[in-house]
């Protein structure tokens, strides 16, 4: 983390506290992957709204894609494992908007 030419929005302490729960590639014990026949893009209308909201906020430059990915990865382990895909998206978007002062 030396020679940074910009000021990171997150402190190092906050990153050190970050779990690595998301990095489960190759881990066993999660059970088989269930493949849904004719799976729709979204299972609930709110999921499509979260998808669209995130795309628009990215496009408008409120945050970038890697900040979004990190926001998902920064979720506490318990919440990360208990949340669905788009629940994670929603939690990450809300957190980023709060941290950037867009939401109070």
């Amino acid at each position: 983390m030396s020679k940074l030419r910009w000021r990171p929005a997150l402190g190092n302490a906050s990153l050190r506290a970050m779990p690595s729960t998301h990095d489960v590639g190759g881990a066993s014990g999660f059970g088989p992957i269930v493949r849904e026949v004719d799976e729709p893009p979204f299972h609930h209308e709110w999921e499509a709204r979260v998808f669209a909201l995130n795309r628009r906020l990215l496009q408008l430059g409120f945050y970038n894609l890697d900040e979004f990915r990190l926001a998902v990865e920064r979720m506490p382990s318990e919440a990360y494992l208990a949340s669905s895909y788009y629940e994670k998206w929603f939690i990450a978007v809300e957190r980023l908007l709060r941290e950037k002062g867009v939401l109070e």
Binding site: A9, G26, R69, E73
Partner: protein
């Protein structure tokens, strides 16, 4: 940051990831692979994730690195199996030929 590797070079991924966001998955840490493709300079996602802009964050050469299944999954690997990953220069170290 220069392009340290050429196609066909043997590389080893770093053993441990730093804190924060990175594009090197844990299952590819400390693994030997071969550079298959050089894509040119790309913004380092590790910096972008901390809010760096395209001009202030580091730019590094991005490579496609191919790993043999046995190298990645050890005795649990299917055969034949290859795993490719697009990895930034600082994720890699040169691997001595053997």
């Amino acid at each position: 940051m220069t392009t340290r590797f050429r196609c066909g070079d043997q590389v080893r991924t770093r053993a441990q990831n730093p804190e924060g966001h990175t594009r090197l998955p844990r299952y590819l840490c400390d693994r030997r692979g071969t550079v298959e493709m050089i894509h040119g300079l790309f913004a380092l996602p590790d910096d972008r994730a901390l809010g760096a802009s395209l001009s202030t964050g580091r730019q590094e050469t991005l490579y496609t690195v191919v790993f043999e299944g046995r190298e990645v999954w050890r005795e649990r690997s299917a055969e034949p199996l290859f795993v490719s990953a697009d990895l930034w220069d600082s994720y890699l170290e040169p691997e001595p030929a053997r």
